[in-house]
């Protein structure tokens, strides 16, 4: 399948019929979706052809490129429900800034991808649309919460996809579906139009099948936005760096290697050998505070979720219940009726860790740990240019396996939450296949080091190859 970076070029030079390209993708959707359930909504063929005709006139760098968008990113002409019954039928009155940027460059938005409700989950099972199945193993999860975006790319149901990453939500699906994803430096991509879950942690994040495509999508959506006060006001391009192995020291962090599946470790150490053969220096280091990054992350995420989701009262925001009397009754019934169990749990726990008498023990302590983690990493990056680690300690679990005990599900994020706590970029790419499962590795670097991460990932990709789309 043609890479996204080539679609626009080929289309604009009349070497690729964009309508044939669209039909090829729709054909894959028709073939795979009954088994995978990765889309929450797909636009109809007539409207897509109309959109394509209009977008081709733009002659942008994404002319004719087909993009799938996670269902928590606002689109003014398609439903945006964050996979919640609270927002079923909701069509936002405006586009997210990232959507405006995609449209400006000529992209066609094909549909909205399935996800965990309000992005709360690591398996893409907490969704009223039904679970996302991993195209590599239909009984397994595709990771979460952007599992739909990962699965769509894995079977070729779009050229590029957007997800959002609060604690690993694009990186875990990328690792489990053999695709690539970037959690950008906090503040480099506008969150305007993203249905919020945990503001200080989350970023809209690009996903693709190749590193070049990933860089293309990131460079399209990044940039300052007057509508999002947390964007950094930095306007720079992030090309793929040519990384000099002689000047690049890479760290492996001991605390991110605990309890990792043997198959995953095998691929990881093969990748380390590969990098050493290219002349990179790789050292094992220890950052003890990372042992606590997972509980610290979940305390902060739940506290912010509790605050963010307070707006859904079934009166001003969100769907109403049929029978209720007065504001409080309507709000409690709407929230009781339309939120799923995971969302309710996080709202309650978020309120709990913020309560007077408990906040010092939980929330304040977690934010102090966050400082310790951020500062420890900043110190590490004075001596090392990048960190490499596995993405998840386990292979994709079977559907339903992790739902019973929430903490079991949370441990799937143990290697990814650190980047969100510290605001640093993190890139995941496939590094091999074992027992029929793709295995991902994760790169992390200091803030604004996206170009370097693209460069490092390109070296691995050149050796390993691109493993999707599946046939």
């Amino acid at each position: 399948m043609i890479q996204a970076v080539k679609v626009s070029l080929e289309v604009l030079n009349d070497r690729l019929d964009p309508y044939d390209h669209l039909e090829e993708i729709l054909d894959k959707i028709n073939r795979w979706e009954p088994k995978v359930n990765a889309y929450a909504y797909v636009e109809n063929m007539g409207k897509l052809k109309e959109d394509l005709g209009r977008q081709l006139k733009r002659k942008g760098r994404l002319s004719g490129v087909i993009v799938a968008v996670k269902d928590n990113i606002s689109t003014s002409w398609m439903p945006t429900t964050a996979a919640s019954r609270m927002l079923s039928g909701y069509i936002p009155p405006y586009n997210a800034t990232v959507i405006e940027k995609l449209l400006y460059e000529g992209a066609v938005i094909i549909g909205k991808t399935n996800m965990d409700e309000f992005a709360m989950g690591s398996t893409s099972e907490n969704t009223p649309y039904g679970p996302v199945h991993n195209p590599w193993c239909l009984d397994c999860t595709a990771g979460g919460s952007s599992g739909g975006s990962g699965a769509v790319l894995a079977y070729g149901g779009a050229d590029l996809a957007l997800g959002s990453d609060t604690g690993g939500s694009v990186r875990l699906p990328a690792a489990y579906t053999g695709t690539v994803a970037l959690k950008p430096t906090y503040g480099t991509v506008s969150r305007y139009g993203l249905i919020p879950y945990a503001n200080s942690l989350e970023q809209i994040s690009p996903m693709a099948r190749t590193v070049k495509d990933l860089a293309l999508l990131y460079n399209t959506i990044k940039g300052d936005d007057p509508r999002d006060s947390t964007t950094l006001g930095v306007e720079q391009e992030y090309p793929i760096d040519r990384v000099d192995p002689g000047k690049t020291r890479i760290a492996v962090i001991r605390e991110l290697m605990d309890g990792v599946d043997e198959g995953i470790l095998k691929i990881f150490w093969n990748t380390i050998s590969l990098l050493e053969s290219h002349g990179f220096t790789i050292d094992m280091v220890s950052i003890k505070s990372l042992r606590y990054s997972l509980p610290a992350y979940y305390v902060i995420a739940m506290a912010e979720a509790s605050s963010n989701l307070a707006r859904y009262d079934g009166v001003i925001h969100g769907n109403r219940v049929k029978e209720c009397r007065g504001y409080w009754d309507c709000a409690a019934k709407a929230r009781g009726e339309y939120f799923g169990v995971e969302v309710k749990t996080r709202i309650l726990m978020g309120a709990y860790v913020l309560m007077e008498g408990y906040s010092r023990e939980y929330y304040v302590k977690a934010t102090k740990l966050r400082r310790l983690i951020r500062d420890s990493l900043a110190k590490l990056f004075k001596d090392y240019q990048a960190i490499i680690s596995p993405v998840s300690p386990i292979l994709p679990p079977k559907l339903g396996e992790k739902l019973e005990d929430p903490v079991k599900m949370y441990t799937m994020d143990v290697m990814t939450v650190t980047a969100n706590l510290a605001g640093i970029p993190a890139l995941v790419q496939p590094a091999g296949i074992i027992s029929g499962f793709p295995i991902g590795i994760q790169w992390m670097g200091p803030v604004f080091s996206e170009s370097r991460l693209f460069g490092l990932a390109s070296i691995v990709e050149d050796e390993v190859g691109v493993i999707t789309p599946l046939q």
Partner: protein
């Protein structure tokens, strides 16, 4: 919330009742049992934080450590013409029609 169905103490159970009330969450009986178990498990998980001493550190609420950054206030008529065009047919008396039972009737 049924205090007898999970391992939370009586005090904690009262707190959770209060939390459900404060967060405006109506919980069915089966959800009470399920959420109670989940909360017990999460509290145990959070107790890992007891092992670390961070007394001397300042909290970091936001990784950017910026405050008071706001955009310039340039009032515009609502809704902007562009939005009005994109929402054609969803206005009544100059107000956007909110969804009702998944539709816009």
């Amino acid at each position: 919330m049924g205090c007898e169905v999970c391992v939370l103490t009586e005090d904690e159970c009262v707190i959770l009742h209060k939390l459900a009330e404060r967060t405006s969450l109506y919980l069915s009986r089966s959800e009470e049992i399920e959420i109670c178990d989940r909360i017990t498990s999460i509290k145990r998980f959070f107790s890992q934080l007891d092992e670390v001493n961070v007394e001397d550190l300042k909290p970091l609420y936001h990784v950017l450590e910026v405050s008071g950054k706001t955009r310039e206030d340039n009032p515009e008529p609502f809704p902007a013409e562009e939005i009005r065009r994109s929402l054609k047919g969803r206005f009544r008396d100059d107000y956007v029609v909110a969804p009702w039972k998944g539709g816009y009737d």
